[in-house]
Symmetry: C2
Subunit: 423 residues, 2 copies
């Protein structure tokens, strides 16, 4: 019988006459320790008897098949008790006694003591890992752009500000300007995966005040269609890899299948999206952005009519897009831009950028922005700049939907919203 | 003759009678375009004549060996001018006319238009890539800890604070508490690579107010020596990989060799370090931290006597270590902690952590910390916690020293110091 080390947290303790069963949550799943009270060393039995649920222990023992049924059990040779958990527990980690989200997130470290939740973070780890592998194959450079800024990046709404050595600084809402700077520094393709900050007072299933933004910028594109092509190929690659590695375990533990998308993803112009939403009997503001319900309707349409969880919406009106989105020469009312929806939720905004200094400045003026705050950015385009485009991508949103979770907070290690700064 | 696409920024324009030479900085190096004024299409010649230095172009042409000497030249078939650079340039990107650092960082996007500087960011990209590959092999989970905190993490010195929906928030100086939380959530080994913020008024070659911290935390260690072992193995792996991939190019372009370290790295107790510094005739504060000059002296000693660029200094006094560093049962004056120096500069602080709630709380009280701000953290250790340890690592510092750069700012894409918030 092989000797094994079992270390982790005591999930369950059951006493059945001459036998005692201790179930342990390890880093990789569960193990059952079986104690025969008649044959065990009395000192070790006393230590086992002292355990409370969620105490942290290490057992060395022999692993063998269960006498009846499936699985294995471990017969202990030694027990080391690292810490006895206090009682009562403020939260039942395995969710047997459902707790409200506030309690769960207050005691997040206990909430996460659950192999299903570990699985979420393992899949998220690989989502990033496989993304980086793919980007490395594309010879991309990783950049770390500053999060402390001298000016509110894009107008000033929903931006956090702070005192900075006698001045005012702002927390980055996106690395937009800086990834464009990288392109203007002669790097051809760049990416960043880093936190961004939004002073957004919303409490919804898809908003937090701090989240990981995955950003890509590509030089020398011919059109924003090149950006969409890049994105759909990358997503297909990563989701296929995830499905292969984690598909079975996700199905078994989280009850959802990971579906590998077909490429190319379907594309719908925003004007057509308005029509679809209108035909579904929902209110629609032509010339405006899509509402959350509108996005859901397009997601439904894409699934039912186009057989796809993913759908690009293109050619947004310039009124609802930032000043740096490029516009067609003959139609200043629209933009070379897109959103990507996944299962009816926006996960990406992308576009070709305006790289011509005079046009870029004119578009900023037209939007009523304070040019003196933007001069440092406009300068990037004065001394040579290639055509370029890119996208920003909310990693938590896709992980949430991929794994059938109901709120981005569930896939965020320690989420932040307007009322939550602890733990 | 193969047809090639050359795209990038015009570095040099030379006119030699019937010939014109245009040198282009591409994403991967340089290309020379050779224009024969007599045989070229007059419209294309006019476009070439319109170019200013640093203008951004695309040329399709035929690449052939130079008539004399090494290398190749490209005979253009077509030219596309994306943007004409304004004149005069505020900065010479290739450094022919040396500029002071303030000017270079003001025009950082031009400063970076230099293949030597691109190389720094390529090596840094791979440093992270190879690190993640190694950590993935160790089955580690990547976490994203919050940067917006409800309490100043470790006492409150040099912390940025900001208004947060009617309260006060603080920017994370390190992910320390949260990586320990991950261990207490049942994840066995975790890491994070993310920005941290220090309101440090220093202007030195090794300080910035925002930098990328590489953090590791390992559960179920037996001693802080396990943490040192983990770190030296990882560093050897990554540096060997970097040397193999980039060694020649770094030697050629940056003039330094990448030296692969031998493991185990030598270890010196802090008391011995005091002796060495004292014997070198430098002032030393026994019981205190090492000064910058002291670190340099130890670096010299390690290189000369121990034949190593890396050296661990261990067993720091508890007076200069944070409250959460574990102390030996019989000697509360010291800690199970270490620093790692590379070429005489501290790049890591590591330790075994105190995981026993009562001792941890007592050590916090002894340090005079405000316990009510720490309760959320102390709670992590109340309901079961394994022994654990880890380290924080300044990625920019090792890249600086590995590539022979003189300031961490040179290896930071857009560095921040107390007076710099732009670009």
């Amino acid at each position: 019988m092989p000797e094994v080390e079992v270390r982790g947290f005591v999930e369950e303790i059951r006493d059945l006459g001459g036998l005692k069963f201790v179930q342990v949550l390890t880093g990789g799943g569960h193990k059952q320790i079986t104690i025969n009270k008649n044959s065990i060393d009395p000192k070790m039995l006393k230590d086992f008897d002292s355990l409370t649920r969620q105490s942290c222990i290490r057992v060395i023992g022999e692993e063998k098949p269960m006498p009846k049924g499936n699985g294995t059990e471990v017969i202990p040779k030694s027990l080391e008790v690292f810490t006895i958990a206090a009682t009562p527990l403020p939260l039942e980690p395995t969710g047997k006694t459902p707790a409200d989200p506030d309690t769960r997130f207050r005691w997040r470290f206990l909430d996460l003591r659950d192999e299903k939740k570990h699985l979420i973070f393992r899949v998220a780890t690989d989502f990033e890992k496989m993304t980086r592998d793919y980007f490395a194959k594309q010879d991309m450079i990783e950049i770390h752009t500053p999060k402390l800024l001298g000016a509110a990046s894009e107008g000033g709404a929903e931006v956090f500000s702070l005192p900075y050595f006698g001045r005012e600084a702002y927390l980055a809402q996106s690395p937009q300007f800086y990834k464009q700077m990288a392109i203007c520094s002669g790097m051809e393709k760049v990416f960043e995966i880093a936190p961004v900050f939004r002073a957004d007072p919303s409490f919804t299933y898809r908003h937090v005040t701090e989240f990981i933004s995955l950003d890509v910028e590509l030089g020398y594109i011919k059109s924003y269609k090149d950006v969409m092509k890049f994105e759909e190929k990358w997503l297909r690659y990563v989701i296929a890899k995830l499905e292969k590695k984690w598909g079975n375990e996700v199905k078994q533990k989280l009850g959802v299948g990971i579906e590998v998308p077909k490429t190319p993803f379907p594309k719908i112009k925003i004007t057509q999206a308005y029509d679809i939403i209108e035909q579904a009997g929902l209110p629609v503001e032509r010339g405006g952005d899509l509402s959350s319900d509108g996005e859901k309707e397009i997601g439904k349409y894409a699934k039912e009519k186009l057989n796809s969880d993913f759908v690009f919406i293109t050619d947004y009106p310039s009124t609802v897009r930032p000043f740096y989105h490029m516009r067609p020469e003959r139609n200043q009312k629209t933009t070379y831009s897109y959103d990507l929806l996944y299962k009816g939720l926006e996960i990406t905004t992308g576009a070709q950028r305006e790289h011509r200094h005079d046009k870029l400045k004119a578009q900023a003026v037209e939007k009523g922005l304070q040019i003196h705050n933007l001069e440092f950015y406009l300068d990037f385009f004065k001394y040579g700049a290639p055509p370029h485009g890119g996208f920003g991508f909310g990693a938590a949103r896709i992980i949430m939907l991929l794994l059938g979770q109901k709120n981005v907070k569930e896939v965020s290690f320690v989420p932040r919203d307007p009322k939550t700064l602890f733990p």
